[in-house]
């Protein structure tokens, strides 16, 4: 092993186990690590597909996502995104991509899905600094556990069922303004809104 691959022990400690596995896939095409990722994320992605109305293509989506993970793993940089965040964005993009391809031919798509929805870390110019990115999942998990159920319900419908705020309002039979204020309250707790104020 080259010395370049040896990381300082202090940085190793901040990496979550999934990010370590994903890095092994990227560096060494490690199939055992790939399999462990599949066991953990495969069922999550299948549920995601089913929740957003792609039940008949759920396993196809899981396959597409994992082939994409394999292909792109060499680009994965644990300092830019936790593995679960990175895999979520790949699942999101593959879902969008599948829907786009069902609806039209490639000649009708001058812009690719990835031109519109970015995978974190693809931008090489991005400075590698953000420790807060690694912290953010842990922080979000903690914050979510304190949110009222009605806020989590709205967020789940937006992220898992891919419903717009308007569609969520229609479905829950509440005003759009109420949906937006629930989301704002939640994002405030998650410190996304707080950052708005420093703009």
């Amino acid at each position: 092993m080259s010395t370049l691959e040896q990381k300082p022990a202090s940085s190793e400690g901040r990496k979550d186990p999934w990010s370590q596995l994903l890095q092994k896939v990227g560096k060494n095409q490690d199939r055992a690590a790939y399999h462990a990722l599949f066991e953990h994320f495969g069922p999550q992605i299948k549920y995601y597909a089913m929740a957003n109305g792609m039940a008949s293509h759920a396993e196809e989506l899981v396959q597409e996502v994992f082939v994409s993970i394999w292909r792109r793993s060499c680009l994965y940089d644990w300092r830019k995104a936790a593995a679960s965040t990175w895999i979520f964005t790949i699942a999101r993009n593959q879902r969008i991509d599948m829907l786009r391809k069902m609806q039209r031919t490639s000649a009708e798509m001058p812009v690719e899905t990835e031109d519109l929805w970015q995978i974190p870390g693809d931008n090489e110019n991005e400075p590698v600094t953000s420790l807060h990115r690694l912290m953010s999942e842990r922080r979000i998990r903690e914050s979510l556990s304190h949110l009222p159920e009605e806020q989590i319900t709205v967020i789940a419908k937006v992220y898992m069922e891919n419903k717009s705020h308007q569609m969520v309002a229609n479905e829950l039979n509440i005003p759009l303004g109420t949906v937006k204020s629930r989301v704002r309250l939640a994002l405030n707790k998650l410190k996304v809104i707080l950052q708005d104020q420093n703009v």
Binding site: A81, A82, F88, L116, P120, R133
Partner: protein, 212 residues
Amino acid sequence: MTRHHPDSLSLMEYSAGNLSEPHALCIRLHLDECPHCRSRVDTLDSLGAVMMEQQPKVSVSEGMFDSILSMIDSEPAGAAKVATAPRMSALQKLLGDDINKLPWKRQLGDVSVLDITDRFPGQSEQVVLQKLAAGGKAPAHTHRGEETTIVLQGAFADQKGVFNQWDFVVLNDQDEHKPVAVGCEDCITLSVLSAPVKLTGTFTRMLNPFIR
């Protein structure tokens, strides 16, 4: 440095993958130039990951992993091509290298437009490029629906402030504005219109083809 950003709710709809393609394009163009909003989207993407993690798990078919392995084994070598070559930006793919040289349609006075709705088949919104000549003025108008705009070149000013390159602005029927191009460049914007705009000034009926 951009000073006008998308709000958190729009960024959340982007992160969740729920926006139409033209809206996603506006957000993406802004993100490419705005580290602040990229960091907000990073947090939102992590929210998506945590939401996905907290849902029920559904077991996958027996043998699925093996079929994935055979898919990756049958890939041609050098599948790492994703890593190579500077990518063309979405804007270049859509509009070429020089947005000043597009087949602009001169409307009245200082305003030119180009409707690019047909580049987004299957979308319900209208997508329009607008060009206001350096120092030029556009007629006062309001918007019947919602108009999302990103500045691609130059800058314009209205009563709400100055909007520079990559600034992001959403206008609705509450906003009457009368933009003026500031600086020495023509101001070019990309707008996604959910419904036609409504003119408020006099003599502007003839502008209807432009100000929709």
